[in-house]
Symmetry: C2
């Protein structure tokens, strides 16, 4: 971990390795060296996903372990890297201990999971499942409009020839930090991930009327800020009404003119709704939109609602989940079945092959931050469950 974390390492801690940057290339080069040293059969596909396989793939499709080496800006050293490096270590352990497996075992480093420099996120696994064409991926412009994905991929030397359409797998397993506080707060060692939550992002524009704070009687106001506050309040109330599986977040609020003595005339806010149950998520969306329209009408404020993102929940493979659970139990680790609140490559892989994930605790639930941390003890336990599950799958 520590050698990889030096690539793109920040002076105050943390790591920054944006997709297809100089740092991403360095990290890929190091992984390539390590995979070759182990004697893996190395390949790179059309969108830059990297593979290293061990064993005879004539008998059966490989069991893949993996994640991603790219990070967000000012990110941590665990998000993504953990799954790639623990996967590599699992394969190394199998090789060094001459463990006999009937199926090949492979590693994948997915291109651009974070989606910070180029969107969409989970791009490499999305392309692998056929959710976006290679041609289209190559033409994607960077968020700052300065770079083209295909050109940058060629520039760093990772435009491969392995065809996406020829990919075959027995299973896909991803070890990842939880990125949330649940395992830590419940003092558990392993999260057995059953599914990825459905996600719904909406942005809401409210247009009222800017007016003098002193001279405008309350009943003549069209206060876009008050309507926004009511929606924020309601988003919280919604989670009580719908129940434990529902989370709701208003993360972004922008007020105009944003002056101390002027009634807000215009507000933009975003609402992030997630649920493991798609019917409940649809119910939450409908309730929120109905409420927002109603409260805006009462205040005389115009409202415009745009859907930005909508992903259905992705269930993972039942027998794979049971296998992960069995490994954790066998090793005597405390664990719980839980959903993933964040998106991961595994949710794309679930469309191609049986897939699931293993979580380990994140200190204070923090990720996408230089403060991201998981202890060496927890990492070891997660790696052991990954190895144990992989062996059972490949035996």
């Amino acid at each position: 971990m520590s050698q990889m974390a030096k690539i793109g390492g920040l002076s105050g801690g943390g790591v920054e390795r944006l997709t297809l940057s100089k740092e991403d290339k360095e990290a890929r080069d190091l992984l390539m060296i390590w995979m070759r040293e182990l004697g893996l059969k190395v390949s790179v596909d059309q969108v830059g996903n990297m593979y290293g396989e061990w064993g005879n793939s004539k008998n059966a499709a490989p069991v893949y372990l993996g994640s991603h080496l790219d990070t967000v800006g000012n990110g941590g050293e665990y998000d993504g890297s953990l799954g790639v490096l623990a996967g590599l270590e699992a394969i190394q352990t199998c090789i060094e201990n001459n463990i006999e497996l009937s199926k090949p075992i492979g590693l994948i480093n997915f291109t651009n999971e974070e989606g910070v420099r180029f969107t969409p996120d989970m791009m490499g696994s999305l392309a692998l499942k056929g959710g976006i064409g290679v041609e289209k991926v190559m033409k994607i412009k960077s968020v700052d409009k300065q770079f083209i994905f295909g050109e940058e991929l060629e520039k760093i030397g990772y435009k491969g020839t392995r065809k996406l359409s020829e990919f075959k797998a027995t299973a896909y397993l991803e070890l990842h930090i939880e990125q949330g506080p649940v395992l830590e707060s419940e003092q558990l060692e392993i999260g057995v991930v059953e599914m990825v939550q459905g996600i719904s992002w909406n942005e809401i524009y409210l247009t009222g009327q800017s007016n003098h704070a002193g001279t405008t009687p309350m009943h003549l106001r069209k206060d876009a800020g008050y309507v926004a506050a009511s929606i924020i309040q309601y988003a919280r109330q919604l989670t009580h009404e719908i129940g434990d599986r529902q989370v709701a977040t208003v993360g972004m609020v922008e007020v105009e003119p944003n002056l101390i003595n002027v009634v807000p005339g215009r507000v933009r806010l975003t609402v992030d709704l997630r649920n493991t149950d798609d019917l409940q998520l649809m119910e939450a969306e409908k309730k929120l939109i109905d409420f927002a329209k109603k409260i805006a009408a009462v205040e005389g404020v115009e409202i415009e609602i745009n859907s930005l993102v909508r992903f259905q929940p992705v269930p993972f493979d039942d027998s794979l989940i049971a296998l992960v659970e069995g490994s954790a139990k066998e090793m005597g680790y405390s664990y719980k079945r839980m959903p993933s609140g964040a998106g991961h490559d595994a949710q794309m892989m679930a469309a191609i092959c049986p897939s699931t994930m293993i979580f380990i605790p994140s200190k204070n639930g923090i990720s996408h931050s230089v403060k991201e941390y998981s202890s060496p003890e927890d990492i070891e336990k997660g790696a052991n469950v990954l190895l144990g599950t992989a062996i059972r799958l490949a035996e």
Copy 2:
């Protein structure tokens, strides 16, 4: 009006004449020419307030009419200018019609009422009442820290010698646009201003914890945005609890990190409370602060509250108010007694001499905007009430 509005006139309508700018100097120079043409005795005091007096001041202290020629950025042509120009016209009418007055009548153009380029606002009248010393005023830095008040005042040639301490007045009258929607919405022609509301500004810093919107269960959140929304909601509720005289505005909200999928970790918001009754205003402040502390504690969010501004309500002179009301009634104009929601030079003058104000309707209640507008008919009525009241006072 139209000639003055050309100074600092904006291409798309509206006026920008920031205090002690080139445009402020031009406006002052034009006023100086007009006052001299009328034969007024002209003077400028130590902080740049301009005076023009007519009549023998040995008999009695003058009746002053006035307001200010400075504007906010992207302002209108009525706020301030109306009171100065209508005051000048009233004096001209007295002179041209040989109206015999026992007391002198004078005009004042106050320095820096708006407080945009240099703070505090109402600076000229505040200095005149002794609320801030001349030395201190001279050293005030501009908001952008690039200029010093005293230097800029000298540069435009309006550092006068008339001593603030020698000021004497029989009364002060200020005609002004309402800057609110009350007169227009009630279809009234004149506002007889009884007082200026008390004002209380607080800024509130909320520090919770930034967390992933998908992976952080609701009960583990410390959401600064949710607490802010609760305070905004409560500010509205407060106006219902306390009653019609109370207004409350949250005009400024700043969220960090302000990302769609991150629980807000930090919010700054401001609360503007105003009431004509100081006891009610104190009650509103206490209730708001108590509520804010309580809701922050429930959410586990740290709270810091700073008082930025606190003015007590300023009552105007009863007999002067009655005189204005009598003038409006005599002229057959519809009117109502009302408070001023905004601050004005008249509230400073009230500490030195009997003072009051006359309001005329603002179209859509808009001011501090290039859309600021009052009709020529309403302006004429306001000017007539100003003249009528001034004559009664000086007779």
